[in-house]
């Protein structure tokens, strides 16, 4: 593709025509551009003005390619990773198994009552987000947010079929014809394919991926799988292809929240107005004395996927993807001025430069230290909880209706529903004993089907077993106010692991 924008003279000429460009925001016949979302261009009842981001090369663009490849790979490949857990458990490394109420994450297996691990992970994730944001701004938004990654991907598809920025503008302006229809149709077709793949990958996190994939192909998968794919495909298509930057500007709460995360020492993508102003076109060979480095070429605006002008200062719309840095650096190289007119910069450094003081960075400052400490603390708590995660739990639920039963010989009997949780990947046999209530005897229903007080609990399951405890009539004075306490003990017959649970024993109030 012939890149007409390589001509500096042309860029300068276009920049000179900026007044006209304001009335004609896209300058379809050239590279004359304005920020369609800048404040002066906001109409009263705002129709969306389409943004046509231009492709730019450079450090941050490369970084974004890498991040995109990485995040998409993680998203699409993760469900296919295998992790051996033995014959009777799923071998999918990451699986949210709702029917059997288990979440599997590699070595970690989460039961519903252990959901606090997920809570901990979410707390860690949000603290991490706070830390990153206070250090370097909206890194999440600019590089890794799915909205950004998929929108970026969709824009590349659009570029592939419809050409570079100016070509796309011209295409949209041109009357409908076979060629335009073909290009548009091809673009939307690829978008829909990507969207389907996105929704398709999502459902694999909730069922065995190879099985579900085969079922999907045979149109034999559960309806919810197709519904989920349809919902995710349509939202991906809508948000990534059609809505794009509007999601960040209107729908996402994070831009509003992150204002509280920045401070004067946060590295934010900024235009250095102290160096750039006064901006204006520059003729090759003329002096740079008495003017700023910004030649007002508008490239920072042309590449912006959010349709803003970074030179207006920090804005809610800016996702800090840093593509304007790449665009400006390329221009600065060309006009032989130092790079970094647009760069990651802090508010304090701007002040320091204006005051003639040396610049410095303070990454370690109270705010970031507090975040780091909080992350360390939560991580430590989670680690301790994880290391001490018990693989045997017992609970004893006394019958409430009736509270107790009088037997023929006058003794009092209570019923208990014992629940024994075996989180190990082997069958275990437990012996149940009671302690703490003198004279009490442990029995089971006549048809319990198991010998004595042993209970077999299958691999990675919860077993419910009914037990009775009876106290002879002569011992009823041991109950105080009609209530006594006893402890159920489950002992693994193989390795002697124990778990206890105290429960109350009720009798008639004496």
């Amino acid at each position: 593709m012939a890149d007409s924008a390589t001509s500096l003279e042309r860029l300068a000429a276009e920049a000179a025509g900026n007044v006209r460009a304001a009335a004609d925001p896209h300058g379809a016949d050239g590279e004359r551009v304005t920020a369609v979302n800048s404040e002066k261009n906001r109409p009263l009842y705002a129709s969306r003005v389409k943004v046509y981001p231009k492709l730019v090369g450079g450090t941050f663009r490369r970084l974004k390619w890498i991040v995109m490849a990485l995040t998409l790979t993680i998203y699409y490949v993760t469900p296919w990773l295998r992790w051996d857990r033995g014959p009777s458990l799923p071998d999918q490394a990451v699986l949210l198994d709702f029917p059997s109420r288990r979440f599997y994450f590699f070595f970690l297996e989460i039961w519903p009552q252990e959901f606090y691990y997920i809570t901990g992970l979410l707390i860690l994730a949000s603290l991490g987000l706070f830390l990153v944001t206070s250090v370097a701004g909206r890194v999440w938004c600019g590089y890794t947010c799915p909205q950004t990654v998929w929108t970026d991907l969709f824009i590349h598809v659009e570029r592939f079929f419809e050409g570079e920025r100016s070509a796309r503008i011209r295409l949209d302006r041109s009357p409908w014809g076979i060629a335009k229809l073909a290009r548009k149709a091809a673009k939307h077709a690829v978008w829909i394919l990507i969207a389907l793949a996105t929704g398709g990958a999502w459902v694999f996190y909730f069922a065995d991926a190879p099985t579900l994939a085969a079922d999907l192909m045979r149109f034999d998968a559960p309806p919810i799988a197709y519904i989920s794919i349809a919902i995710f495909a349509s939202t991906t298509y809508l948000l990534g292809g059609i809505a794009r930057e509007q999601v960040c500007i209107y729908m996402c709460p994070w831009p509003r929240i992150q204002g509280a995360m920045f401070d004067e020492e946060s590295l934010l993508v900024s235009y250095k107005d102290d160096r750039g102003e006064k901006r204006g076109p520059h003729k090759k060979g003329t002096s740079w004395e008495g003017r700023g480095d910004c030649i007002d070429c508008g490239q920072c605006v042309a590449v912006c996927p959010m349709g803003i002008d970074i030179r207006d200062g920090m804005q809610l719309e800016c996702i800090q993807c840093a593509l304007c840095i790449d665009a400006c650096d390329a221009i600065m190289d060309r006009v032989e001025r130092p790079r970094g007119l647009i760069a990651y910069d802090t508010l304090n450094n701007q002040q320091r430069r204006k005051a003639g003081e040396p610049q410095r960075l303070s990454i370690l400052r109270p705010r970031t230290i507090v975040y780091m400490a909080a992350i360390a603390l939560v991580a430590l708590i989670m680690l301790v909880a994880l290391v001490n995660r018990s693989t045997l739990e017992i609970s004893a639920l006394p019958d409430r209706n009736p509270l107790f039963v009088t037997l023929a010989d006058g003794s009092i009997r209570n019923g208990y529903e014992l629940k024994i949780v075996n989180k190990e990947h082997r069958e275990r046999i437990f012996r149940i004993d009671i302690e703490g209530l003198e004279g009490a005897a442990l029995t089971r229903p006549a048809l319990a089907g198991e010998e004595g007080s042993t209970v077999l609990v299958g691999i990675d399951t919860l077993r419910t077993a009914k037990f009775f405890v009876s106290l002879p009539a002569g011992m009823l004075d041991r109950l105080r106010g009609g209530e006594g306490m006893l402890t159920f003990v489950a002992t693994d017959l193989e390795d002697g692991t124990r778990a206890e649970r105290t429960a109350s024993f009720r009798g008639p109030a004496q």
Partner: protein, 296 residues
Amino acid sequence: MSDSPKKEIDDVTGVETTGHEWDGIRELDNPMPKWWLYTFYACIVWSFAYWVVMPAWPYLTTEGWTYTKGVIGYDQREIVARELGAVAEGRADEMKQIATLTLEDVAADAALMEVALAAGKAAFGDNCAPCHGSGAQGSWGFPNLNDDVWLWGGTLEDIRTTLAHGIRWEAVSDTRQNVMMAYGRDGILTRREVTDVAEFVLALSGRDHDADAATRGAETFGEQCVTCHGADGEGNRELGAPNLTDAVWLYGGDRASIIESVSNGRSGVMPAWGERLDASTINALTLYVHSLGGGE
């Protein structure tokens, strides 16, 4: 709105404000995005479509209140009925086995037993709980099914027989039948003899009693009661006669209650459920009652 028509422009953004102020915070009057407006319109269209498609509006007819049914005929009652039908169909195999296998065989099959106990519990709540209580704890005149005391026996077969044929249920010929006569009311025993027998019965279960009266009562007991309750008062399950020596009393074990039982007799009734419930439900109920703790 009574706000002043004067336009206020925010210094920082250059945007007009709405003129409202909350604790010094003013709201910018930025334009609303068009897509939001269209979404709003789409919601309105959606709600109209919903009224047509789904059950929506109540209206009055000469027969009373009804409602618009919606063109796709969505009906939650139908869905519930269908889902219940599907569950019953899914369980048909197990329920058939529960009906045809012996009770011991069902109990030996853990998976089948689980279904039987669940079905039994549900059937108990529907049919038995009104008298025996939701926890089968019983009440005055209605036996507690959790304990180890059985009038007519606590084996699986005994329980099933009681369930299927009932007690003193005259509609079926082979119902369990016995008579505790009204010894006082019908003049079989004198008032004195009744109280003496009551003292003896108190003595049988080791309670406070008048020893002289009990000695006199023992004689009367030997004449009138041993046929059913046995010489030592331990009852007879063949006849449904309760054990008078244990700690469990269906109609109360205090002096006044015993005197009343002897004077007026007792004749509790249990329906014959074999007429109303199918074999699988009777068997499930049998296993459930047996599992409550008293099963033999």
